[in-house]
């Protein structure tokens, strides 16, 4: 910190005095350390730094004349003239409030929208881990193959024990968290809970304090210790009804009576972020001592990779040192030949944007790009205004330049106005952002806040705005002048200028088209999802069951499934029950070798499933109840993959669910449409296979005339058969559909709302440019009318010109949009990225708007009085 302060002081001080000032500061600091103690000295040092920075302009001014040998008192430095420019700009702005209002609107909306969207994205990534203290010293620890770039794997319980023992100078401590689902029963109700098995040092290492009661300590994590559990604050609220006597209750977890010893602090959800969009701390329900995992149904064995390991770095240690220290402790593993020894790598605790799956990253980038595009359109408008102002001031600029002002000085003068405006707009927009974010927080389950990252982003945006809307137009405006400084014609700026402005209009149109058609494509996707799904979806109830929490053999599991199905079907409103279980598999065709395996989604379904889901074959037939397990159905996407070798029907596939089981050989008997309905909105290549051995987890799909009313009885069905088996999730198809469409709905709303705004901004840009063009061409129009042109001809001419810029803009827009839409086509459901309606309607709207925006200036042009105009312009 001391070095940073000295560095800042050095930067602020003119070079001539830098050395002695830094030395003097250090001397005084050392004195103060002796006389007042180090912390007082540190405080003084920072006060002093601020004072030196504040005094820097005066100090630099006093040093300057000496350096240049100028007579003293000549204050010609950078600062005063900059200040003059600012004052000049402020005076100019004060005189034109309408201009200020226009610019603040055009830019403010874009800045506020961008900052709001950024703060949402920011909240998604840089969420706090509540209840974890000293997080910057915590690192995730992984196991990696010796070869760099090898796959990372999570450590096992054994690894964690070895590392904990090996922690030395560079690692203050190491702990882990192994998450599993467990079956729990409390007060006669069963539930599936997400639990973390943690070593005794877990809470101490994370620096977590109990919300109530106490947390797990090393004494609890011994073989034979009484079973105890810490419940999360979220679970306490949701599942224990915020009972004040929750601590001390007994919950049955995995069939064992377990004492609740404490409640974790509010928001604490372990060492990983909760899923996007879910409340903080809802990730885990229970924390259990790791020793308790032995013999717990569903808990992995001690050598399975299931832990998230966390190390706290020792004082002054780097994560690389910690990794080296832990690597040294690893036993030589008898691994695969070639991978001689494993090694330890660390990563920061928080997942950054780099860890995102690509599609989510693209979606977020799109989400951010939309308001930025609106801002760019606003910038184009403002740049247009700036060009107009520069043209108005062309005479002044010319005088200044011919008196010897450098181009830079003139650009500075012109741009300063924009800089002042951008800062002002930025400040207003951030106020607006604060308001919007305040509103959003009550709707969205995300801790959105305006932190320093959002402010930094806003500052970068404002800086970009200054360059795009201020510096660049000023630079371009002075270029014409520097070409011919002596020219004195009143109709300055001229054609070059208006070409530039038409270019800006084209850009606005292009960006508006991209925005509007993005909104339209998402709108069409939404429509498609609703229309394609509505009929059956409204009648479905989907429930997921996990048998992993109980120790069933195949026969017992099959019996369980039959019993539950029978109970559910007993309800007269239920029209059918189907079962499916999803797994990802690798497959190849009979003609391919093992190395040509591809992956696909496999859905193991009961024979009734197709009927329940109202699926009909597109080709061939469906799997019937009489089919052996060698029959398979594929979706169209999959059929497309197989079509290279003729029709998909009749082909033989070799399907392998995992490396440990022998592959099954199946024959494709039919093709069905890609499913785009709940429970699965995606249309990955999929194979539908006969459900044979009862799976560990599966979904029951129930078709009933009254889904909402049937929910409670369906919920109780599983518990009636075996109270230990809970439903993971029982939802109606309609609710699943709503869950699926909600991100798309947000995109439609964002892109649509901002697209309309963009349209408005573009229209006002077109209006301004055409008005300007008309005013430039008054003499020409006068001559045309004098030689016999009718007002209608003039209107047509001007409209034609406006339409030309718009058409150029549309072409540019299409060139931008088409590659973009192809990149993000996975976001669109059931429509092509080149959907004619989604591209055509916005284009037509833009042309219409452009004609409307140009019609007023065109009419004004046609009212030119030829005699007067010709007189004026002689």
């Amino acid at each position: 910190m001391k070095r940073l302060a000295l560095f800042l002081i050095g930067v602020a001080t003119p070079r001539a005095d830098r050395e002695s000032v830094a030395g003097d500061t250090l001397e005084r600091y050392d004195e103060l350390v002796v006389s007042h103690g180090p912390s007082a000295a540190r405080r003084w040092l920072w006060r002093e730094t601020c004072r030196v920075i504040a005094g820097a302009p005066a100090h630099r001014l006093s040093a300057r004349p000496a350096a240049h040998g100028d007579p003293p008192g000549n204050r010609s430095g950078l600062m005063p003239s900059l200040w003059q420019d600012v004052r000049y700009a402020l005076r100019g702005l004060w005189r034109s409030p309408a201009h200020v209002a226009t610019v603040v609107f055009c830019l403010g909306v874009g800045i506020a929208a961008s900052a709001t969207v950024f703060s949402i994205v920011n909240a998604l990534f840089y969420r706090d881990l509540p209840g974890v203290s000293g997080r910057d010293r915590l690192v995730r620890v992984w196991l990696a193959a010796e070869r760099p770039g090898g796959l990372l794997s999570a450590p096992s319980t054994n690894d964690v024990r070895v590392w904990s023992a090996a922690a030395g100078r560079h690692v203050e401590g190491l702990t882990s968290e192994g998450d599993v689902s467990v079956a729990a029963a409390f007060d006669g109700a069963t539930m599936t809970a997400s639990a973390a098995f943690v070593p005794g040092n877990y809470f101490r290492l994370l620096g977590t304090r109990p919300g109530a009661g106490r947390l797990i300590n090393p004494n609890d994590d011994r073989a034979g210790a009484p079973p105890v559990v810490v419940i999360s604050h979220h679970a306490w609220r949701q599942r224990f009804g915020q009972r004040l006597d929750a601590v001390g209750q007994v919950i049955s977890i995995g069939g064992r009576a377990t004492f609740v010893i404490g409640i974790a602090p509010e928001g604490f959800g372990g060492v990983e972020l909760s899923e996007l969009g879910t409340p903080a701390g809802s990730r885990l329900d229970f924390w259990l001592p790791l020793a308790f995992a032995d013999g717990m149904p569903g808990a992995p064995p001690a050598d399975a990779s299931w832990h998230a390991a966390i190390a706290r770095l020792g004082d002054g240690a780097t994560s690389a040192q910690a990794a080296a220290e832990l690597s040294a402790s690893l036993p030589k593993r008898a691994g695969a030949p070639g991978s001689s020894r494993a090694r330890v790598v660390t990563s920061p605790l928080n997942a950054g944007p780099g860890d995102l799956p690509q599609d989510v990253a693209i979606m977020i980038a799109l989400f951010l790009a939309v308001p930025l595009a609106v801002l760019a359109i606003g910038c184009a408008n403002v740049a247009n205004l700036q060009l107009a102002r520069a043209t108005e001031r062309a005479r002044e600029v010319r005088v200044r330049m011919s008196l010897g002002a450098s181009r830079l000085a003139v650009v500075r003068l012109l741009a300063m106005e924009m800089v002042v405006l951008a800062v002002l707009t930025g400040a207003i927009a951030m106020g607006g952002t604060q308001l919007i974010v305040g509103l959003l927080v009550s709707f969205v389950p995300l801790p959105i806040a305006i932190d320093w990252r959002v402010l930094a982003f806003a500052m970068i945006v404002v800086g970009g705005v200054m360059i795009l809307a201020g510096l660049a137009p000023s630079w371009l405006a002075t270029r014409q002048v520097s070409v011919s400084p002596w020219r004195e014609s009143g109709a300055s700026g001229g054609l070059r200028d208006s070409a530039l402005r038409r270019g800006l209009v084209a850009l606005q149109v292009a960006l508006s088209l991209v925005l509007l058609s993005t909104a339209a494509l998402f709108g069409r996707s939404l429509q498609h999802m609703y229309v394609g799904a509505s009929a059956v979806t409204q009648e479905l109830v989907v429930g997921r069951v996990d048998l992993g929490v109980v120790d069933y053999d195949d026969a017992a599991a099959a019996q369980f499934i039959d019993d539950v199905t029978a109970r559910v079907t007993a309800d007269g409103r239920v029209r059918g029950v189907g079962i499916h279980s999803v797994r990802s598999v690798r497959y190849r065709t009979s003609g391919q070798g093992d190395d040509q395996q591809q992956s696909a989604l496999a859905r193991y379904v009961s024979a009734s499933w197709f009927e329940v889901m109202d699926i009909r074959p597109r080709a061939g037939r469906l799997i019937g109840s009489g089919d052996e397990r060698t029959a398979a159905v594929v979706n169209e996407r999959m059929a497309g993959r197989l079509a290279g070798e003729g029709s998909a029907v009749g082909q033989t596939l070799i399907v392998r669910a995992s490396d440990n089981v022998p592959p099954s050989i199946v024959q494709v008997v039919g093709v069905i449409a890609n499913e785009r309905r709940p429970p699965d909105p995606h249309d990955d290549p999929a194979i539908y296979l006969v459900l044979d051995d009862p799976p560990a987890s599966f979904s029951l799909v129930i078709r009933t005339t009254a889904p909402a009313a049937a929910l409670p009885s369906i919920r109780s069905a599983a518990a009636e058969v075996d109270p230990r088996v809970p439903w993971m999730d029982v939802t109606t198809g309609a609710a699943l559909l709503a869950r699926d469409v909600s991100p798309i709905r947000y995109l439609v709303l964002t892109a649509g709302g901002l697209g309309l705004l963009a349209l408005l901004l573009a229209a006002s840009g077109i209006y301004a440019v055409m008005s300007y063009v008309v005013s430039l061409r008054r003499p020409e129009i006068g001559i045309r009318m004098a030689v016999g042109a009718k007002p209608g001809d003039i209107v047509r001419m001007i409209l034609g010109e406006s339409t030309r810029s718009v058409l150029v803009g549309l072409v540019i827009g299409l060139l931008l949009a088409i590659p973009l839409f192809f990149t993000v086509r996975f976001l669109f459901v059931g429509i092509s990225p080149l959907d004619p309606a989604a591209l055509g309607i916005p284009a037509a709207v833009l042309v219409g708007t452009a004609i409307l925006a140009a019609i007023v200036p065109a009419r004004r042009g046609s009212l030119v009085d030829p005699v007067r105009t010709l007189k004026e312009h002689g």
Binding site: S20, G23, L26, E27, E48, S62, P72
Partner: protein, 108 residues
């Protein structure tokens, strides 16, 4: 050489006079901080010294690198005859104006 000394310039010159050969940034600042009881920044001292130097009232020279300053040199300041004259003039103006009213000044 014309204008009268500013108040802060007077303080700096007095400090330089008091300190003699030990006058440099840190000591001048300490002298003013303890005797005139006001907190100031080192850059204020240097700004004033620059001005005084330009007016020809003081001159400065760099000392040797010192380990306790991290190898940095001190900039020693020395009062020039013109500076001494200006200080004297300022002092006599001040003393002249204050003469006879010292008691009342203290009572204020």
């Amino acid at each position: 050489m014309s204008s009268a000394l500013g108040e802060f310039e007077q303080l700096v010159l007095l400090a330089v006079l008091r300190l003699g050969s030990e006058a440099y940034g840190a000591t001048i600042r300490r002298e003013i901080e303890t005797r005139a009881d006001r907190e100031l920044s080192i850059s204020a001292v240097y700004t004033t010294l620059q001005r005084l130097e330009q007016k020809g009232l003081v001159r400065s020279r760099m000392g040797d690198p010192l380990p306790e300053r991290g190898g940095r040199r001190r900039k020693y300041v020395e009062l020039l005859p013109a500076g001494a004259r200006a200080l004297k003039a300022a002092y006599s103006a001040f003393a002249g104006m204050a003469a006879g009213v010292e008691q009342r000044l203290k009572a204020l």
